[in-house]
Subunit: 352 residues, 4 copies
C-alpha cells in the first residue's frame, strides 16, 4: 500500500486545479450589496476600466470573459477576417488544445503553425513565414494576426526585445499581434517588466489576460490596446454568451487581482516553487530538465520507472510521451508538497 | 429637486440587477478549500449531476454555463443541423435579444417566428406551422426544434397541458423541444408543479435552466434530458469557451440554489412582489395591466405623463413603446420599494 | 384519355426550365479555341468587365457565379458583418427559398423580414423599420444592408423613385443596398429604363444580375458598384467554390447575353407572353389576377376544379395555396402553348 | 526580340487552361432542345446517376458542382462534424490552395496535416497519427475523415494496396475516406484499374470526381458511395449555391465525359505527353526530375538560368522555389509544343 493513501494527493497537475485567493472571495462578498446595472453598465466595471488603464499606462478596454479559450478565440475573431489566417507556434494552445475555437469564432480562418525553440515563435521564423505569404492570391488564406503565448506552453518566456521584434514585423506586414497571457503574471514576474512594457509598447494589440490559473474564480479578461477592435468585439462577446449580466462580480475580481500587485505576488510565489522544485529534483541522478524553467511549469526528463513510482505514490502530473512529465506549481502550493515529491522521487531513483 | 435624490433608485429594471443570495456566496467560500480536478472532473460537479437527476426524477446531464444566451444557443446547436431551423415565438429572447447567437452557434440555422397570444406559442399555431413545412424540399430550412420560454418574455406561463401538446406535436414531427427557462423557477412556483412535470414528462428534451436572475452569480445550466444530445454538446461547449476550468465554483452554486427548495422560495418571493405591485398599482385610475401577471414581470399601460413622472422620480423600469412599461421584481426586492413606487404613482396620477 | 397525352407538357412551371439561347451556345463554341489563363485572368473576363462597365455607365467589377443563391448570399456576405442583419421582404427569395444560404455565408447574420404590398418593401416600411433599430445595442443584430428583388417574387416591379427612396434611406442609415436581379432584364424591359438608372444611380451598391432564367447556361453574375466591396468578395467567392477555373466560358455567356440588347429582347418576349396570357385567361369567367402582371410571372385566382383540370391536362405550373396558381413565361415560350392553355382553361371553366 | 514573339505561348502552366473537348460541346448543344425540370429533376440527371452507377459498379449518388474547391469542401462537410478534423497531406490542395474552404463549409473543423513522401500520405503515417488521437478529449478536434489526392498534387499516384490500407485504417478508426480526384482520370489511366477498384472497393466513401481539367466546361462531380452521406449533402449543396437550376447542362457533360471511355483516352493522352516531355527534357544535361512522373505533372530541377530563358522565350509554367518548375500537360496538348519546349531548353542548356 502506498504511503500516499492517507494523505491528499500531491497535486502538480495544473494551475487550474487551484483555489481562489482570499482577496478575490472577499471582493465578491463586498460587491454583493445593492442591485446594480447589468451587462457591464455598473460602477465596478467602469472602475475596472479605469484601474486597468492605469495599470497598462494607456487607455484600454477590458472585457471579462469565462475562459482562456473564449479570450483567445474571440480576441482573434476581432482582428482576423473569416478568410484570414493566424500565425502561431505549432504547440500553441489555440492550435492544439481549444477544440478549434478560433476556427469557429472567426468563421473558418486558418491557423498557420510555425516551429520555434521552446514553444516560442522566433522573430526570424516569423520573418521567413511573412516572406512566404502570397498576398492577394485568392486561394491562400491571408494572414491577419500573429499570436504568441506569454509565458509559453513550455513555461518559457519571450524576452522584451523578442516581443518588440515580432511586433515590428507584424506592424510592417499590416497584421495584428495577440498575446495569449494565460500565465501573463508569471511571465511578468520573471521579467520584472511592467505590463505596458511587455505588451503595447512592444506592439501587442490585444491581450488574453489570464487570472483563473493564478487565483481568480473562472474569470479572465480581454484587454484591448488597439481601440478600433473594441466595438466589434463587444458585439461578438455578447453573441458568444460571454457578456455576464451581473458583470460586477467579474469586474471586482479583476480589480482585486491586481490591487497592491497581488497578481504579481501570487505569480512570484508559484514561480519560486517551480524554481525550487526544478533545482532539487534535478539534483537527483537521472532526472533532467526538459525545458528551461522560466515560469511555473517544470518539464522533466524522467526514467519511466520513476514516472511509474510517482504516479503510484499519488503524485498528480501531466505526461508528455514516455519519459517527459510536466509539473505545474501554484500560487497556493506548499513547500511541504515539494518536500514530499522530492522524497518520493529520491526513493524511486534510489531503487533503480 | 426630486424626492428620490437622497435615496437609492427604486429599481424595477430587470431581475438581472439582483444581488447574489447569501446561500450561494456561502457555498462558494465553502468550496474553496483544496485543489480540485478541473473542467468538471471534480467531486462537486459529480454531485451536481446526482442532485439534479434526483430533482428532475430522471438521469440528466448538467452543463453549467456563463449566460442565458450561451445556454440557449448551444442547447439549440446540439439539436439543430446547420441547415435546420427552430420554431419560436416572434418575441422570443433567442430571436430578438441574443444578437443572433443561435444563428452563429448552429452554423447558420434559421429561426422561424410564430405568433401567439401573450408571447406564447399556441399548440394550434405550432400545428399549423408544422403542416406548412415542406419536408425534404432542399431550398427550405428544415425544422429540427421548437423553443418555448417558460416563463415567457411577457411574464406569462405555459400550462402543463400546453407544454404536453407542444411536446407531442414535436415528437410526432421528429423535432426536439427546447425550453428557455431563464425564469424557470418563477414559472414552477406559479404552477406548483414539479421540475419533471414541467419538462421531460411533457416532452422537453433540453432545458436552459436559469439561476442568475434568481440569485446565482453568473451561472446558468443546460439540463439535458435526451442523453443523445449530451456528448456532442460537451464538445461544442468546450469549444465555445463555456467549460470553466474551476467548474466546482459553478457546480456548488447550482447545488446550493436548489437545496431545500431555495430556488422556489426565492421565485415565490419575487412572484409575490409582482402580484402585490400589480394589484396595488392597477387600483390607481388610468393604470392597467398590459399582460397577465403570472411570474415576476409586470407589464402596465400607463399614461405618458405618469411614465415621465416615474422616471423623473428615480424609478428604474423598462419601456415598451409610448404607454407600456415593464417592471420586474426580484427575490431580493423589498416591500418598501413597492410602497415608494405606489406613492409616486399615486401622486403622478393625481396630478393628471 | 387527356388531349395532352401525345404532346409535350405545356410548361409554365418556371423560367428556370428554359433552354439556352442560341447566341450563348454559339459564344461557348467560339470561345473554345486556345488554352487561356484560368480563374478570370483571361482576355474574355477582362472584356466582360469592360463591356459591363459600359453597359452600366460606370466602373463595375463583375463576378460570374453558378446560381442566384450564390449571387445573393455572397453579395450580402460582402457587406454584412457576421453579427449584422439584412432587411428584406418577408417573401424574399433569400428569406424563404435559399436554405438559409445568407445566414451561412455571412457567418450567422439575421434576415429582418418586412411586410409590403405585392412582395415589395415600401420606402415607408423601411423608414419605420430603420427608426426602430436600436443602434449600438449589443444584443440586437445590427442592420448592414437592405435587399430588394427586382422584379419581385410576385412579378411586380419597383418604380425608379421607389428604388431611389430606398437607396436614400439606406445611405442615410449607413447601410448597403443589394438588388436581387434574378429577373433583372424583365424588370428593365418593363420600366424601359437603363441598367444604370435602375441600379447605382438610385443607390444600389451590389447586384445579383440574373441570366440563367433568361437564356444563359447556369451562369449569373454579381455586379459590384461599390468598389470597396470587390476585393473582400473575391476571396469569399474563391473560398465558396464559385470561382471557375475556365472562367472564360462564363464570361463569354454574359457578354453575349447583353450584346445588341439580346437580354432585353428575350425579356421583352417573355413579358409579352405573360401579358397576353394574363389578358386572355382573365377574360374567362371566374379566373382573376392575384397580382399585377409587370414581368413574366402571372399569379391567378382560379377555382380549385379548374386547377385540377389544368393539372390533369398536363399543364405544369406552381401552386400557392388552394386557389392561387403561378404561371411563368419564358423567352423561349410559344404562343401555341398559350393557345393550348387558354383552350384547356376555357373548357374547364365551361364545365363548372 | 524573342523567337516566341509571333507564336502563341507554349502553355504548360496548368491543365485548367485547357479547352473543352468537342464531345462535351456537342452534348451541350444536343441537350438544348426542350424545357426540362430544374435542379436535377430532369431526365438527363437521372441518366447520369444510372450511368455512373454502372461505371462504378455500385449505386452512387452524383452531384455535379462548379469547382474542385466546392467538391472537396462540401464532400468533407458531409462527413465531418463542425468540431471535427480531417487528416490530409501537408501539401494537399484542400490545405494549401482552397482559401480555407473546408474550414468554412464544415463550420470550423480543423485540417490535420501529415507528412509523407511525394505528397502522399503513407499508411504508416496515418496509422501513427490515428494512434496519437485523443478520442473523447473535449479540447482536441476529433478526426472524422482522411482525405487523399489521386493523382497527388505532385503528380504521383497511390497504388491500390495503399488506398486499401488507408481505407482499412479509416474504417477501423470509424472515420470516412474522401478522395480528391481532381486528376482522377489521370491516375486511373496510369494504374489501368477500374473506377470501382480505385475507390469504394478500397474503402473510399466519397469522391471529388474531376472533369474540368480533363475536358469539361467548369463541371466537376461529387460521387457518393456511402449513401448515408447523400441526403445531408444535398441540402448543403443547395445552400452553398451549388445546385444548378438547369442541371441537365452539367449532367450531359459528365455523361459524355465517360462515354466510350473518353475521359480515359483524354487522360492517357496527357499522361503520354508528360512522359515524353519528361523523358526528352531530362536527357538534356543539368535537368532532372524532381518527382516521379506518374500522371500529367512534370516537376523538374532546372538551373535558374535555364528557367529564366524558358520564361523569356514565352514558355508558361509554374515555379516551386529557385530551381524547381512544374509543367502540366493536357488532353488537348500538342507534340509540337513539346518539340518547341525541348528546342528552347536545349539551346538554353547549351548556352550555360
Amino acid at each position: 500500500m502506498s504511503a500516499a493513501s492517507n494523505q491528499p494527493p500531491i497535486n502538480f497537475r495544473s494551475d487550474n486545479v487551484a483555489t481562489v485567493c482570499p482577496e478575490i472571495l472577499h471582493a465578491l462578498a463586498a460587491a454583493n450589496r445593492d442591485p446594480a446595472a447589468s451587462y457591464g453598465e455598473d460602477a465596478q466595471s467602469a472602475e475596472l476600466t479605469r484601474i486597468y488603464s492605469e495599470l497598462f499606462e494607456t487607455k484600454v478596454t477590458v472585457f471579462p470573459v469565462s475562459t482562456g479559450t473564449a479570450a483567445n478565440a474571440l480576441s482573434l475573431a476581432s482582428c482576423v477576417r473569416s478568410y484570414g489566417a493566424v500565425f502561431c507556434h505549432e504547440e500553441a494552445h489555440i492550435h492544439t488544445a481549444e477544440g478549434a475555437a478560433t476556427e469557429m469564432f472567426t468563421g473558418g480562418a486558418k491557423l498557420l503553425p510555425l516551429q520555434g525553440p521552446q514553444f516560442r515563435i522566433s522573430p526570424d521564423g516569423l520573418r521567413a513565414a511573412l516572406a512566404r505569404v502570397e498576398r492577394g492570391v485568392r486561394n491562400r488564406a491571408q494572414p491577419d494576426a500573429v499570436s504568441i503565448t506569454q509565458a509559453s506552453e513550455h513555461g518559457t518566456v519571450y524576452r522584451l526585445d523578442e516581443i518588440a521584434e515580432i511586433g515590428a514585423l507584424a506592424r510592417h506586414a499590416g497584421i495584428k499581434v495577440h498575446m495569449d497571457g494565460a500565465r501573463f503574471a508569471n511571465a511578468l514576474a520573471t521579467l520584472g517588466s511592467s505590463p505596458a512594457d511587455m505588451t503595447w509598447r512592444r506592439g501587442v494589440d490585444i491581450l488574453s489576460f489570464g487570472a483563473t490559473k493564478n487565483g481568480a474564480m473562472n474569470t479572465e479578461a480581454i484587454v484591448v490596446f488597439d481601440q478600433s477592435l473594441a466595438e466589434p468585439l463587444s458585439y461578438r462577446l455578447r453573441r458568444a454568451g460571454q457578456t455576464w449580466s451581473k458583470m460586477r462580480f467579474a469586474a471586482v475580481q479583476l480589480t482585486a487581482y491586481v490591487a497592491d500587485d497581488l497578481y504579481l505576488r501570487m505569480a512570484a510565489r508559484s514561480n519560486a516553487l517551480a524554481a525550487r522544485l526544478a533545482c532539487e529534483i534535478t539534483a537527483l541522478p537521472s532526472i533532467e530538465l526538459a525545458a528551461p524553467v522560466e515560469a511555473n511549469l517544470v518539464f522533466l526528463s524522467v526514467p519511466p520507472a520513476v514516472i511509474a513510482t510517482l504516479a503510484a505514490e499519488g503524485v498528480l502530473f501531466g505526461r508528455r510521451g514516455e519519459t517527459v512529465i510536466r509539473l505545474v506549481t501554484r500560487f497556493d502550493g506548499s513547500d511541504e508538497d515539494i518536500d514530499r515529491l522530492i522524497a518520493i522521487a529520491r526513493r524511486a531513483v534510489g531503487r533503480m
